[in-house]
């Protein structure tokens, strides 16, 4: 290959080299020989044309997808020396540098992989390291085309020196990552390598952090970040945060020359494309993925960007809006979703002229046996079952096709009125102009717009349907009135007798309790709105319970009062069922639901007051319910249940019966303290109940020996003279 260089002119050499390159392209087996052959000709001392050709050929060869990463190893090892010489040999032609650095970028993962498997061969790693530090040194001051390659080189280093999640595409070299580097090789310290990668990533992202207006570098950076975000989890948050803080529209504040316009549009679109791509393709940003919580932020950023862009390129924005409106008005023929037509399995022959029966009109089969079959003989329930099954399994296209066929038949029937004819004529497309007829047929858009808000689409369709004129088909309206449908009303529901109603009330009320399990407890954080708040206004569990309590207390207030009294033994009325369920609900977890109990009892008490005031002799429920509740949980009370104190303090009314129940607690020495403390609380904080509370304490003192010391203490303070009178009485 290496022809005697002196004998040939540069142009002749280039022709020869070009021929060699074509040979390698057509027969990949020759790659190695040809690459090694050209190395001496393209070194740093060669003429500039040869160096450029050589550097570009090396970049091409090291990147070619024809060779596997194994096959590239010896190739890469062979060219490292030349690459290093080209980069360090004082060569500062930007084309040579750009291509050499691109070649180095392709070499990097190959060498990392190789050195991991052949750690004794440190020489090539040292060469690669030298190349790397040279590139990183010239990066800052390089001209833009060279900088592009430096960015890409840094990206490959980051890719090779961070841990992978194994999601990369099957392209050689992309899967070389930090987790492939064992800790055993001393000069490949994974921690140092990762630290270096982090530093390089920051350097890459610098262009975004500085809000650079150099679109070339911004685009080049953004367009190589995707694989890092998707396959190197440790980089992804850093990159995304950086992008979300980047303002690609900053340049729009300067005067809009044609070039600036191109730059602004480019950076905005590139940023948006990358984010949309990540939302669409990165599983970790999908629902359930670890980064899902960030996707909302990304969406917002995308929307904000889009709005600002429309503001900046106002004219373009307006043009789009108009186009959209037209599309909405006439239906966008170009974007219509249609499927490839299938060969219709049924044919629907048009009916010959003349009178026909409806049966003939709707008969699509051509089998005479089936045609003569009288479908009305099938019992209706069976027929409906058959129809439902058939509709569920029928191919939509066949159905559409058949419906269209029947419609066609109907149309041929109608004497075409003048208006219908005009409509039909208007619908006929005019003569096609071959030059301007649209060629773009429907596209299924599978790779196009990410379908972020399908819900909106549905809504749009519904809106469109709403505003569409009512579909009165002309042929039904005119001429053939017999085919039109008359007004249809549902038959009135059968009357419900009280017994059935109460029977139905049971399941109905159990459904009322269904939402409780799914409704969230709003927690105590919520600031209380005080006495002026509206009950049941916050759609949480508390609100729903308020609704339930009122249903049980007031739903039938004033209606069935007297009747219910009489029908004592009959089935429970609706509100009694709810009461029962509310009672059970509270007792299921009475410690935590004591608040519910208080709320409910308050409602009961209030309702009782209303009943009393109305003068009707309706039943009162408060006392009964309160006693029942207390009886329900009193057996489970332990010394720690301070809720008892709270319950007694908060329920709207106390009476002797209720407090009498408390005495029972003193039978257990462990709960004496709790009981008496609760009483003391009532005595101190609830003056209207003070007397009955003290009476209770006094009774406790009398009845329970174990409780005496504590009870005596309270009595001495709050009912001086009582104990003396008792003991005196006992003494006498």
């Amino acid at each position: 290959m290496a022809a005697p260089a002196q004998a040939l002119s540069v142009a002749e050499q280039l022709v020869q080299l070009q021929a060699a390159r074509k040979l390698a392209l057509s027969t990949p087996a020759y790659y190695e020989r040809i690459v090694k052959g050209v190395l001496p000709i393209i070194g740093p001392s060669a003429p500039i044309e040869l160096r450029r050709w050589g550097a570009e050929f090396l970049a091409e060869s090291l990147a070619t997808p024809v060779l596997s990463i194994q096959e590239k190893e010896s190739l890469t090892l062979a060219v490292l020396g030349t690459l290093q010489a080209l980069l360090e040999g004082g060569d500062d032609d930007s084309i040579v540098l750009k291509a050499s650095i691109a070649a180095a970028a392709s070499s990097y993962p190959v060498i990392v992989r190789w050195i991991v498997n052949n750690s004794y061969h440190t020489e090539s790693w040292e060469q690669m390291t030298a190349i790397k530090s040279r590139i990183l040194r010239i990066w800052d001051n390089a001209p833009p085309p060279v900088k592009l390659s430096c960015i890409k080189f840094a990206q490959r280093v980051v890719l090779a020196q961070t841990a992978s999640n194994g999601q990369e595409a099957r392209a050689p070299g992309l899967d070389v990552s930090l987790d492939k580097i064992p800790a055993s090789i001393t000069f490949l310290d994974p921690r140092r390598m990762e630290a270096e990668a982090t530093g390089l990533l920051d350097r890459m992202l610098g262009v975004l952090q500085d809000n650079s207006s150099d679109a070339l570098l911004v685009d080049a950076t953004l367009n190589c970040l995707s694989i890092l975000i998707r396959t190197r989890p440790s980089t992804s948050n850093r990159i995304i945060n950086c992008i979300l803080n980047f303002n690609p529209l900053k340049l729009a504040n300067s005067p809009m020359t044609p070039k600036i316009k191109v730059l602004v549009k480019s950076m905005e679109k590139t940023t948006r494309m990358l984010l949309i791509h990540i939302l669409k393709r990165d599983p970790s940003y999908q629902p359930g993925g670890p980064n899902y919580q960030n996707s909302g932020r990304i969406q917002q950023y995308i929307q904000r960007l889009e709005r600002s862009r429309i503001e900046i390129f106002d004219e373009a924005g307006r043009k789009r809006v108009l186009a959209d409106q037209t599309a909405a008005q006439y239906g966008d023929a170009k974007r219509q979703k249609t499927e490839a037509p299938v060969a219709a399995p049924v044919t629907i022959p048009p009916l010959p002229p003349g009178p026909h029966t409806y049966a003939a009109l709707y008969t699509v089969t051509s089998n005479p046996g089936l045609q003569s079959f009288d479908a009305t003989q099938i019992p209706a329930p069976l027929a409906s079952r058959v129809v439902v099954k058939a509709l569920a399994s029928i191919d939509q296209r066949v159905l559409d096709f058949t419906i269209a066929g029947i419609q066609n038949r109907l149309k041929t029937f109608q004497p075409l009125s003048a208006t219908a004819a005009a409509v039909a004529a208007a619908a006929q497309p005019g003569a096609i102009n071959a030059a301007t007829a649209p060629l773009g047929v429907d596209e299924d858009d599978d790779d196009y717009e990410p379908n972020f808000n399908a819900a909106e689409d549905t809504e749009q369709i519904l809106n469109k349907l709403d505003s569409a004129p009512p579909e009165v088909s002309p042929e039904l309206g005119e001429g053939n009135a017999a085919l039109g449908l008359g007004p249809f009303t549902l038959p009135p529901p059968p009357l419900i007798d009280p017994e059935l109603a109460t029977k139905l009330a049971q399941p109905a009320s159990s459904r009322l309790f269904g939402p409780l399990s799914s409704l969230k407890e709003e927690g105590a954080r919520k600031p209380r709105a005080g006495i002026n708040r509206l009950a049941a206004s916050s759609y949480d569990r508390e609100s729903w319970l308020a609704v339930l309590a009122r249903l049980s207390t007031r739903s039938t207030g004033g209606i069935q009062d007297v009747k219910a009294e009489n029908a004592g033994s009959g089935p429970l009325a609706l509100n009694e069922i709810i009461r029962e369920m509310l009672f059970n609900y509270i007792l299921e977890d009475w410690r935590r639901r004591i608040e519910v109990a208080v709320a409910w009892l308050s409602e009961e008490w209030y309702n009782d007051q209303l009943t009393k005031r109305s003068g009707s002799w309706g039943p009162l429920h408060y006392e009964r319910c309160a006693l029942r509740l207390v009886d329900g949980f009193i057996n489970y009370i332990t010394p720690q249940d301070k809720v008892l104190t709270r319950f007694l303090a908060e329920i709207p009314e106390l009476n002797r019966d209720l407090l009498g129940r408390m005495k029972l607690l003193c039978g257990d020495p462990t709960t004496v303290n709790l009981t008496l403390t609760s009483m003391l609380y009532l005595v101190m904080m609830r003056p209207p109940a003070r007397e009955i509370a003290l009476d209770t304490v006094a009774e406790i003192w009398k009845e329970f020996e174990d409780a005496r010391p504590l009870a005596a203490k309270y009595l001495v303070k709050w009912r001086p003279g009582f104990i003396e009178s008792q003991t005196a009485g006992a003494a006498t």
């Binding site: 990147a63 070619t64 930007s94 170009k334």
Partner: protein, 255 residues
């Protein structure tokens, strides 16, 4: 503003004209539309006639051509169907219709350019294209890479960028991806084809200038030292002034 597309592009070569090959450095182009039939093929042909290395692709999932009604398009698979077979099929179906709407004319042109429509997403970038030697614009495309990708519709540009992001840029090769919005009909495709050649000429001129500068150091920050890549936006901005009705978008991406 009564500016019309290409109003000031006075130095355009004669329409559809084959022009002399001046030789020298050539940028490699790739044109892309939805079905690789009309706009990208018009661009492909024009660029090939202007002696540029060029390949072309479609980004749709299927090749779609108009049928007898809007809901009955003719649908073909990419990479498996030749222009010639589509031509023959449509000619057999309804020669009058497909001649009247220009499809047969278009397919007749396309079958002389290359074998069949190719899908962008299935393109193995960098795979040597040694079997396509009879394609128009083959010369220079042997290595199967391009310097500039020109798409003819915004969503094709989006599809190309999304695909490149997805591939993960294994080749470390920069590529300029430019969208030119061209309506999908024969007339606009023809106008767009001229605009594409105009852009290609402008870009290539800059690239040749970069190549011709030798000797001076890349690190001199003197004037006139700008390389091709950084001048692309400027060239595109100037081009946009000449073709105001073909809105363009650009980015620098990676193969």
């Amino acid at each position: 503003m009564e500016a019309t597309n290409g109003s000031s592009a006075a130095a355009m070569p004669p329409q559809n004209g084959h022009r002399e090959d001046p030789g020298g450095f050539k940028l490699k182009f790739c044109t892309v539309c939805a079905s690789n039939q009309n706009r990208s093929m018009e661009g492909h042909l024009r660029l090939a006639l202007a002696n540029y290395p060029v390949i072309s692709f479609g980004t749709g999932s299927l090749v779609r051509l108009p049928g007898p009604t809007i809901t009955q398009p003719n649908v073909y698979k990419f990479n498996e169907t030749s222009y010639d077979s589509i031509y023959r099929e449509l000619d057999a179906k309804d020669p009058r219709l497909y001649r009247a709407n220009g499809l047969l004319n278009m397919l007749g042109r396309n079958r002389n350019i290359k074998w069949g429509p190719e899908r962008w997403q299935d393109w193995q970038i960098g795979m040597p294209r040694t079997k396509q030697q009879t394609d128009k614009g083959y010369e220079g495309m042997e290595a199967g890479v391009a310097d500039v990708v020109i798409t003819c519709e915004e969503r094709c540009w989006d599809a190309v960028i999304d695909d490149l992001l997805n591939r993960g840029s294994p080749l470390n090769r920069a590529v300029h991806v430019i969208n030119i919005d061209i309506k999908d009909n024969h007339e606009e495709a023809s106008v767009g084809g001229r605009a594409i050649v105009d852009l290609a000429d402008s870009l290539n001129k800059v690239a040749v200038e970069e190549r011709e500068k030798t000797g001076a150091s890349a690190f001199d920050s003197g004037s006139g030292r700008e390389g091709f890549d950084e001048r692309v936006p400027e060239v595109l901005g100037e081009w946009q002034e000449r073709w105001p009705h073909l809105p363009a978008t650009w980015t620098l991406a990676w193969f």
